[in-house]
Symmetry: C2
Subunit: 220 residues, 2 copies
Amino acid sequence: MPKQTFHNLPVKKRQKIVNAAIHEFAEYGFESASINRIVVKSEISKGSFYQYFEDKMDVFHHLLELIAHEKAEFFKDKHPPDMGQGVFEYFRWLVKTGMEFNSSSPSLVRAITRVLFVEGLYYGKLFEEYQQKANAAITMMIKQAMKLGEVDPSIDVEMAVMVMETWTNAITNYILHEGLKQKDIMKWIKSAKTQEKLDKFLYVMEYGLRKTESRFEKRF
Amino acid sequence: MPKQTFHNLPVKKRQKIVNAAIHEFAEYGFESASINRIVVKSEISKGSFYQYFEDKMDVFHHLLELIAHEKAEFFKDKHPPDMGQGVFEYFRWLVKTGMEFNSSSPSLVRAITRVLFVEGLYYGKLFEEYQQKANAAITMMIKQAMKLGEVDPSIDVEMAVMVMETWTNAITNYILHEGLKQKDIMKWIKSAKTQEKLDKFLYVMEYGLRKTESRFEKRF
DNA sequence: ATACAATATGACTATCTGGTCACATGACCA
DNA sequence: TGGTCATGTGACCAGATAGTCATATTGTAT
């Protein structure tokens, strides 16, 4: 946790530090992120940095708190579709709204996903608890969907969860990778073309790649 | 390219260096890999290292050559199923045989995939050409499969390729992550249980997560 | 045995890292 | 005005990094 001194800082100064940290983690990942570069970029002294944070991990933890808070704020007044529409419809909404959030704070999301879901693979226990949090929600969803006969029960829960996580990550990476090339990322996300692409991604997850007669007529 | 001096080295010494490098890249990725640790682990002097290689990138390039060569050797006497069986059958064979190769050199594969497909995302142009090589083969395969009506043509080629790559990467990560915990990784790969898991992964890619009446009877 | 080339070595440079600490500055209150 | 406390500072530390180079050792051919 950042120290009290950090929270006492004027907003603009705090933001300057946070932005520098976001940029650093997004650009270099956790291991190679440099505190020296962060202090130079945010125009504070090395000593001040350590008056605000315990260490490198502490800054990163602050970014985690930040994204959690921002995500909660973002989702507060969004309304998910009725559960009666089925999990896939719900998941589609979740991914699409999630991508809108991602494009509202692309650098922050990029920093977090890079460290947590990309490097996290190799850091083992270090970031495991955060991944488990995301995991828990999806597991619940899948279990319910299997009960309702929506998800193929011959695929076990664990695997279905992995499939959904794999897709969420793949889509997030795709969106950040392509989106950051755009002038107006939010506009790009909401464009019909991008939305159709998202639909196709989710359609493949739902129905697979193979062409089957019965399904084809209800395609795009 | 490693210098001639390196290729003149006695085989055992060369292997010791290569193994140290593999271990280093697998453990730390490209950016954080340390040449100092490599020379200590392989019991050569710093000076010798720079008599063998230009720099860090040069060692990594040697590992790329190595895996290309080993993969070619491994696949040389393997026989893919007849193309008449369809792309999905072919892809299934490709993935399964690929995973056998992965488990024959797990550390090397881990080192390469980590740098190329995980960090490569962020290094931008640096490793792009290698990714495009893998890409080209899959693209060919998909195009043909669409012509033959096996792959849903409403999913465009580019996306189908991405789906297959995403799965290949996800499965590779899964296999290396789980497999390295096993005593005998090759035995584990070839076990009925693991093979069934691979089948399920590929089944989901082919038919999706959703339960549909027509498909269910032919499940596991 | 001599000469010459190939190979091996580790001390050394310049630069970076995360982190500490004695001190300086500023704000607020008595 | 003087005192107190929060905040700010950058020189400094020990340890790491990639890369160089003069010197030493080894191998080989004559």
